[in-house]
């Protein structure tokens, strides 16, 4: 991947921190468990690193390490996504035939 320079990377990092705090602070307590597992899924992005390492590996050591990383990271991605989806599917409003909540 192309090197964009350390300062630019740090700038991106700092902006991501602020953005992260901003976005996450809007998530209601009710959804904190799905938030945790959803962010869990997002850090599965490390799978990209695993693919790069394994895909460019040309010796046994790197292949082994890359392979294990690939297994772990894909379990993280797939498991994290499915578990989040399963949880969010359950969050439902009151059925329409019943009264809407007061206020």
């Amino acid at each position: 991947m192309t090197d964009i320079g350390l300062v630019t990377e740090l700038t991106v990092l700092v902006l991501a921190i602020f953005l992260g705090f901003e976005v996450i602070s809007k998530v209601p307590t009710m959804l904190h468990t799905p938030l945790m597992s959803g962010t869990n899924f997002i850090h599965g992005i490390v799978v990209v690193g695993a693919i790069v390492v394994l895909g460019f590996a040309d010796d046994g050591f790197t292949k082994t390490i890359g392979f294990v990383a690939m297994v772990l990271a894909s379990a993280n991605v797939v498991g994290g996504w499915f578990v989040t989806d399963r949880m969010l599917e359950m969050f439902k409003r009151r059925p329409d035939e019943k009264r809407e909540p007061k206020r």
Partner: protein
């Protein structure tokens, strides 16, 4: 195959946007699920783009590795019980951290012979260190929550000395590596020490504090992924990892605040160890608990105008969520106002109780957060506490000697009457006695929560 870095970068940018939107959509349960799908699309784009990079080979290994991980992930995610969600999150969190550490190790190995800049080597050390701590720490958290290891804090003499020694050795190796010591075994030893530290770090923390630990380790894995991004010069990993880092940090602080303790106190206080004083100071003033029967509670409920249900983890353990919903619906049919009061640390992780009740089809607009519901307790006829203990303990307001003193609680004791459903008089997860049970307004309905509620439903129907 894509060889133009601008195309790759643009596709990665689309992934970043998808991840940010995924988190944005989580601001309301209405479109939260759609958000997760958007995140999924982002991940697919990121993975597909990476696979299409020029020069990627070892396809068989990539496919087999991906397949094994995916199968484990799907099976785990599909079969886990909602009560076991915290350990599942810990597990998936741990494997992510482990993957980050391994990617760092592989990058170091490939570059051996020394074309690593100081930026890369610092990032490799950080990624290996944080990722490994997250991996082993999460595994211990998993073990504690799954009750493979005792949930009590595990402490031994000289623990601090050992921890400091591990940290010092790790820091020494890290600094040596950064200073240009190009030895692979040093990085492997660093990973080993970090793994050991993760274990030592989580062992002394009690089961009740696991929500804080899990969200902190979640932040750690995010940071490790971000550090990996610096190694690989990938803004995608830097941003996605940091979003998780920010999220985990924020949740850790919120959790600690909900328990009115500092993060440092949670992590290093060995909660549960300092209880002897609080227990001994309590005077036996002759007050006793009053036991009641399902029939009496049914009468109480039937003549109430407003009932607040306070669910705790005991409810989930008894798998009584569906029965509680039935009871609530029955009361609503009688024209009684029913709401659920959810404490921020009810359950085993932040927001866990909401998930458990949602699973039982309780509409989410009936679930009230602590600040919203507390002013309503004085106008409440019956507060029905089911398997909750520490989060309704008035000692948090009144007894400075109590370990939970200062923790915000649900003001259940302000209701006109309180019914506590409990298996026995055993203390709660924090291991302390509860004044509420001795309150003259309180009656206790002993027994398994599920059995009690089934009896209660029958009794209310008979009314």
């Amino acid at each position: 195959m894509i060889s133009d870095p601008d195309v790759v970068g643009t596709l990665y940018l689309v992934s970043i946007i998808c991840f940010i939107l995924a988190l944005r959509f989580l601001s309301s349960p209405k479109h939260a699920r759609r958000g997760n799908w958007v995140g999924g699309v982002g991940m697919v784009i990121a993975i597909a783009t990476t696979l299409a990079l020029d020069g990627i080979s070892n396809w068989l290994l990539i496919i087999i590795g991906g397949a094994i991980g995916s199968i484990v992930g799907v099976v785990g995610a599909r079969t886990v019980k909602m009560t076991a969600m915290p350990q599942m999150v810990a597990l998936f969190n741990g494997v992510g951290g482990g993957a980050a550490a391994l990617v760092a190790l592989a990058e170091f190995h490939v570059a051996e012979g020394g074309d690593l800049g100081s930026e890369e080597i610092v990032s490799i050390v950080l990624s290996a260190l944080i990722g490994s701590i997250s991996f082993s720490g999460s595994m211990i958290a998993f073990g504690k929550l799954q009750e493979l290891i005792s949930g009590r804090p595990i402490v031994f003499v000289g623990q601090n000395v050992v921890n400091v020694a591990i940290l010092a050795a790790g820091a020494g190796l890290g600094i040596a590596l950064i200073a240009g010591w190009d030895e692979q075994w040093a990085l492997i030893a660093l990973i080993g020490l970090a793994l050991l530290f993760g274990v030592m770090f989580v062992l002394p923390i009690g089961g009740a504090d696991m929500p804080v630990v899990i969200s902190l380790l979640n932040a750690f894995t995010g940071l490790a992924a971000s550090a990996t991004g610096f190694v690989l010069n990938s803004t995608l990993l830097i941003v996605a990892g940091m979003l998780v880092g920010a999220s985990g940090t924020l949740l850790t602080l919120l959790m600690a605040k909900a328990m009115n303790r500092s993060v440092a106190n949670v992590l290093f206080g060995a909660f549960g160890q300092v209880q002897t004083g609080a227990g001994a100071a309590r005077v036996d003033d002759g007050r006793t608990v009053r036991a009641t029967t399902a029939d009496d509670v049914a009468v109480q409920l039937s003549f109430a105008r407003k009932v607040i249900i306070v669910p705790g983890y005991g409810l989930a353990v008894a798998q009584a969520q569906h029965d509680v919903r039935q009871l609530a619906e029955l009361l609503e049919e009688k024209g009684i106002d029913v709401a659920y009061a959810i404490h921020p640390v009810a359950g085993r992780m932040p927001g866990h109780m909401n998930v458990l009740l949602a699973e039982a089809n309780v509409p989410y607009d009936q679930l009230k957060e602590m600040d919203e519901i507390n002013p309503e307790f004085p106008q409440t006829d019956v507060a029905l506490v089911i398997g909750a203990n520490d989060v309704v303990n008035p000692a948090a307001r009144s007894d400075p000697a109590s370990p939970i003193y200062g923790m915000p609680i649900l003001d259940v004791d302000k209701a006109a009457s309180i019914v506590v459903m409990k298996r026995s008089m055993a203390p709660g997860f924090a291991g302390i006695d509860n004044e509420l049970f001795l309150d003259p307004k309180t009656t206790m309905l002993f027994g398994n929560a599920k059995d009690s509620i089934v009896k209660l439903i029958a009794a209310v129907k008979a009314q």
